[in-house]
Symmetry: C2
Subunit: 378 residues, 2 copies
């Protein structure tokens, strides 16, 4: 496999899109959900188990991997795909988001950002050029430009300054990426602009002028109301070219994903299915379920007898409750797996619905299930 990156729009249904991304490591059907492989592992799952949930692409975190084990080491070991034994496509973020959320003593200049590692206190420089170099060392099929992720609320002035800086970093990222001549690999730009619609649209237009293989919307799902996020998505998506994939970074709950697909988004990543799974929470056709709740203690039913994943079929709720209460690793692993499988089945359902012009029906039926809620045992 070494096909050039491409995106093909297969069908549309309203603003919702059914597409296919081709990468050097294989194809990805969209709308796609990317499990997060923070430290070169989707927490708790072996790669074949990630694949078995239906995932076709995972996300790797540049910030974490640059600090440990280091991109040069991963490159020497054959790249991230080989290192983590995940042959399918990988998208890596640029590290910008974690620099803001995890590191200390950040110093931001036009050149880039300097920070202290949260692991050992080492001083680290990250520039747009270094972010691209790291992602090339990792061997990412899709690289992301470095951007400045602002904490909200912020003044319009601050938001505009950060958005403009991100734009200039986008241009530098593109130059750096092109200098690597990684034929067939892709670079995405990132729309910023906080909660200011005008700045968001200006950012999107300017990025399209620069020209990327795909466009992400960053800096959302950071605490703002869902309605604000969806409004921005709805306004920004049409500004982006229909011929390119659109990626809403760090989003979100199943409902966030459903609504963002309805507004024209093709790609998502989020830690929620694994993080919540490690804490006894599952997402299901009937909304979210807290397995540590005592009502499950004697319940012999599986989590979802209609699931297409064995983990949701084989084990009783009583057993999953027990593992959760006993804080057993297997409970964390099974619930993470069940959540990832549910997200993937949701994506598959949306893809099929869009392809056949039934997205509105699928949307309504999915919402009805979530609103109905989980049915307790007698």
């Amino acid at each position: 496999m070494n096909e050039a990156f491409s995106f093909r729009l297969i069908a549309s249904d309203g603003a919702a899109r059914r597409g296919e991304i081709i990468t050097p490591h294989g194809a990805v059907q969209t709308p796609a959900f990317m499990p997060v492989g923070t430290q070169a592992t989707v927490k708790g799952l072996a790669p074949e188990d990630v694949r078995a949930t239906g995932a076709e692409i995972v996300l790797g975190n540049t910030y974490h991997l640059m600090l440990r084990p280091g991109p040069e080491r991963i490159a020497a070991l054959g790249g991230l795909h080989k290192f983590m034994n995940w042959p399918p496509p990988i998208l890596t973020d640029s590290g910008g988001f974690q620099v803001m959320s995890l590191s200390k003593l950040r110093k931001l200049t036009e050149q880039g950002v300097t920070f202290r590692s949260h692991l050992d206190g080492a001083i680290v420089d990250l520039t747009p050029e270094r972010a691209i170099e790291i992602q090339a060392l990792l061997g990412a099929d899709i690289s992301m430009q470095l951007d400045e992720c602002l904490k909200l609320p912020a003044t319009r002035e601050e938001i505009e300054r950060a958005m403009q800086l991100s734009l200039r970093w986008g241009e530098r990222s593109k130059r750096a990426f092109e200098s690597k001549a990684r034929t067939g690999y892709a670079l995405f730009g990132i729309v910023q602009g906080g909660d200011d619609l005008g700045l968001r649209i200006a950012s999107a237009r300017a990025l399209v002028d620069v020209g990327f293989n795909g466009y992400a919307i960053g800096g959302l799902a950071v605490g703002e109301p869902q309605v604000v996020m969806l409004k921005i998505v709805a306004e920004v998506a049409p500004v982006l070219p229909a011929s390119h994939p659109r990626y809403l970074m760090g989003v979100g709950t199943p409902h966030d994903v459903l609504e963002a697909v309805a507004r024209g988004i093709d790609m998502f990543d989020c830690v929620l299915p694994t993080r919540n799974g490690r804490h006894g929470m599952v997402f299901s056709r009937f909304g979210s379920i807290n397995l540590s709740n005592a009502r499950h203690a004697a319940d012999p039913r599986p989590l979802d007898e209609q699931s297409n994943h064995p983990a949701a079929l084989i084990y009783s709720r009583a057993y999953l409750h027990h593992l959760t209460k006993a804080n057993e690793i297997l409970g964390q692993v099974l619930l993470s797996t069940i959540n990832l499988a549910y997200y993937q089945s949701l994506m598959a359902g949306m893809r099929a619905a869009i392809a056949t012009g039934r997205f509105a029906d699928f949307h309504a039926a999915t919402m009805a299930g979530w609103e109905q809620g989980d049915i307790s045992a007698m």
Copy 2:
């Protein structure tokens, strides 16, 4: 499946024995190593992954399961096999060992032991009869008598008192077991007597007079030198009937297991492969290896290119080192799996060697590998 319990001695080589145990849930080839499923899960592994390491039987802990989720609940849910989705045989201990090691405020009488739960402080009574009842509720293929596990060092008087109490509890356990009329299921007696050979032999003879389906040696591997343990095993094993399986409880390292098989033991259980795996330590043909050691950080080699388990073949030492340093769940899971697979391959090697009269050669070759030690990367 509901065959009556039986043991068949297939071959002997010196004192080492190759046999087969038949239980209501299937056959177990001996010498056998039983992974420990403390809280109705072998820590970190799904049941199919335990099976894939080669395990044919697991151990369940009566103490843990009686406190959470409770034997009546497990029985209502169809028994332990169904609860944890492990159809093959299960042996349960009697709870005596954990009462001594984990609980507080123990009060020992002729009748039984009263203790405070380490989970919620509840006062719990455990008698020989209740221990048998719990194991019947769990549905164990092999139940163990309740015994008093003494902490060493102790006076000869104390050791003899505890041994005699354990004998009387053994008789009561047998009466209680027979009253349950669990056709085809098995009850094992437990030899006690501390580090006193005379008391050990007296205990063994008295147990044989009572008559059990198999005989365990308890109260060893609790800190005494290996040479003391092996001396007791060597002296006690010949006192036990050749027609019945012999189980050395809570043992041990691969070397302990190898030497105990050489002295006539058929069954083992131990938390070492999973506990050590969760802390970056693996057992291998070349001795134990600490994956957190920096020498593995850039090593592209698999842990053991001759392993018959994918986890030891697919991932590089560098990746396993990374997961260990990053304290990732997947590292704990993979190293636990690799350790269990190594134990099972060691058992399989011993079984094949005994069957063909090559046990001495196998013993020497295995020892030579461990003594050679791990070979570092260039």
